[in-house]
């Protein structure tokens, strides 16, 4: 009897091809996404973007910058990208800080004037000139990577400065060198200068050595320094968008129910046209999604102290744009799928993939480059970026134009496709 029950269930599953496909495809798709993000593909490990401002322009600072540029896990830029033939001026401390605040890079390094005269400091109170690291508090990984690589770069790129500094310390702490000792040291330093000169002209460098704490670094958070929980507003946006997508899929199901029950036919036999019907559903679903976001952020404000009322204009704009794009996505699902079962399978697959790749499940900056680019094809990524700009970076609405444009374009595009596909309901 047990076997009979199992056999009946198997037969029913075989008839529901969408559910059958989902059972096997979804785990494979998800495994692939997680594998791509967290394991296996080492060659696509995310690189940390770093802005370097060399105010010192000394030999030591230039050596340090070159060493950083050689690091494979860093993408170092000293000036903004320019599409024109004329390069843009180099970053200053102020523009670098603005870039971190805008979220262009997670970290910026300022090499201050005077660094080259006193670059190395063994111990904490040694009078060495500190490098300044400006970071975004929401990204806790990037500054640690940069600090580690800075120490490594210092060890490998500035042997001359290290030796000179070492001689100064020796001279100071042992009560002075004899003339012979001083001459021997100077000769050795000359040899070192010559070796370093040769190495620079050859363009080679030893990147195997390691070290820590030999240059002083002051880290300063320029974004989120006064925020209580760095990940809270990100989570609210990320989880919010994912659930909006599920709600949109559910609302889309109502249209399929109406088609199946004959209500849609009856409505279309009245004055209502297919375009006005879909537009009406889109309007409702947009407002529903927006109200969901409002409720979610009100909860986040009441319980987790997210500063909703300090960001009302940005929240409304981003909320409406996100809700519109999500609602249009729901309309496309409804018009594409023929049955509830299909809708369930397709929407689950699409929403989970979009949420994984688009950053609703884990931050996109942790993903490999290719995955981050793929995320740009999702509503989640643009919505999360926009909400992060509003709540984390405190940017004005004018700075949201990119996210707003993309979300509106996605919404309009998806709706037009949905309208086109919905012609199947208009008449046979």
């Amino acid at each position: 009897m047990i076997w009979n029950i199992a056999r009946t269930a198997l037969t029913a599953l075989r008839r529901d091809r969408a559910a059958l496909a989902l059972s096997f495809v979804l785990p494979v798709v998800f495994f692939s996404i997680f594998a791509a993000v967290f394991g296996g593909q080492r060659d696509t490990t995310p690189k940390v973007k770093l802005i370097v401002v060399d105010e010192d322009q000394s030999h030591a600072s230039q050596q340090l910058v070159r060493a950083l540029e050689r690091e494979s896990s860093l993408v170092v830029s000293t000036r903004p990208d320019s599409k024109k033939s004329q390069p843009l001026p180099e970053y200053s401390a102020a523009t670098a800080e603005a870039a971190v605040k805008a979220g262009d890079v997670p970290v910026a390094l300022i090499v201050p004037k005077g660094f080259g005269q006193n670059p190395i400091g063994f111990g904490s109170d040694n009078g060495a000139t500190s490098l300044e690291l400006l970071n975004d508090k929401s990204d806790t990984i990037a500054p640690q990577i940069v600090v580690g690589l800075l120490q490594k770069a210092a060890m490998t790129s500035m042997p001359l400065e290290m030796a000179e500094q070492g001689m100064k310390y020796t001279d100071r702490y042992i009560g002075g060198l004899t003339p012979d000792q001083r001459k021997t040291m100077e000769d050795n330093l000359d040899n070192l200068r010559k070796t370093e000169s040769d190495r620079t002209s050859n363009g080679s460098g030893n990147s195997d050595s390691n070290g820590a704490g030999i240059i002083a670094i002051k880290t300063r958070a320029v974004v989120g320094q006064d925020k209580r929980n760095p990940t809270l507003s990100f989570e609210a946006a990320a989880i919010g968008v994912m659930f909006l997508l599920f709600t949109a899929s559910g609302s889309a199901g109502a249209l399929l129910d109406e088609a199946e029950s004959g209500t849609l036919d009856r409505v279309l036999s009245s004055r209502v046209t297919m375009t006005s019907l879909l537009a009406g559903k889109l309007t409702f679903n947009t407002l529903l999604a927006f109200v969901q976001l409002v409720v979610m952020f009100l909860w986040a404000w009441a319980v987790f102290k997210v500063d909703l009322f300090g960001h009302i204009p940005g929240f409304i704009v981003m909320g409406l744009c996100t809700a519109f794009a999500v609602a249009a996505f729901g309309m496309l699902l409804a018009s594409t799928c023929h049955t509830r079962a299909q809708l369930g399978a397709v929407s689950t697959l699409l929403i989970l993939v979009m949420s994984a790749v688009g950053g609703s499940m884990f931050p996109r900056f942790l993903m490999p480059e290719a995955m981050q680019k793929a995320g740009l094809f999702t509503i989640n990524a643009w919505a999360i970026d926009g909400f992060t700009k509003v709540f984390w970076r405190d940017l004005p609405i004018s700075q949201l134009w990119q996210q707003i444009s993309v979300l509106l374009a996605i919404g309009i595009g998806l709706f037009l496709i949905a309208r086109r596909i919905a012609r199947r309901w208009e008449s046979a």
Binding site: D265, S269, R271, S427, A428
Partner: protein, 318 residues
Amino acid sequence: MSTAVSVGAGATLSPPLSIDSLVKRFAQVTALDGVSLEVRSGECLGLLGPNGAGKSTLIRSIVGRVVPDSGRVAVFGFPSDSAKARMALGWVPQELAVYPRLSCRENLVAFGRYHGLRGPELKKAVDWCLAWSALKDRAGELAKNLSGGMKRRLNMAAGILHRPKLVLMDEPTVGVDPQSRNRIFEMIEALKAEGTAIIYTTHYMEEAERLCDRIAIIDHGHIIAAGSGDELVRSAFASRSQVVARFDGEPERIAQWVETHHGRLVDSTAQFTIQRSTEIASLLDDAAKAGLELVDVSMRRPNLESVFLHLTGRELRE
């Protein structure tokens, strides 16, 4: 806008519905094969046909949900997909096409708005409809919680809310108890009394006989007969009568014998058409000679059921 639908000056001379040489094909299947039909003002036309005969395709063509390959459908002289035709048309689909989570009143308000009714005019139409469908005391009840008969009445009310002059009713009594069916008949008769033209499809011959002034029989996409019940019987049987007999014996032998005597077996009952009553005696004599034992026999005037069977070779409810 008045509560009753205005279909425009000049249109009053045109019949409520005029269908001319309508053809519709779905892939290899010809659902409508040159259908021509006219419905007059205040007339209730019964549309009868076995399953798959083309009834639904014809109804859906009239309401603009099916685009014909050729031919023409005019509602009060206007093309069926025009706004004026839509306002003049009311459609009661066979499915319960209402919003289950809306109350009766909310459903009627929604469909009223879809037909362009607003404000006091809408309220008046909804109140009239609730009274017409005897749902006034259930106005606040959710549609999904109504009984089968009430759902059917709400389904009808949603189709005539805007007071159309031509109403298409697609099997409106499917699955309802006799009491609710009578209530629905009264609703339809009230509409007829107001001069509304109606097309009524059904599988129940007694409904067609009670409600319809004329009947059109459709089969394989053709209108194979049209006229009043009496006209159809006369044209199919003239002055002939029907003999209905039941025999005891081997079914195969009975079937073979009925076939040789040009009769039909319907539900184990043999039916023969005879010109004179004296033919009964010779028929029964032959049966006795063939060794068939007669259980009972009766003679009757052919009815619509007989006409349908005669013309299509199938029972109406097949």
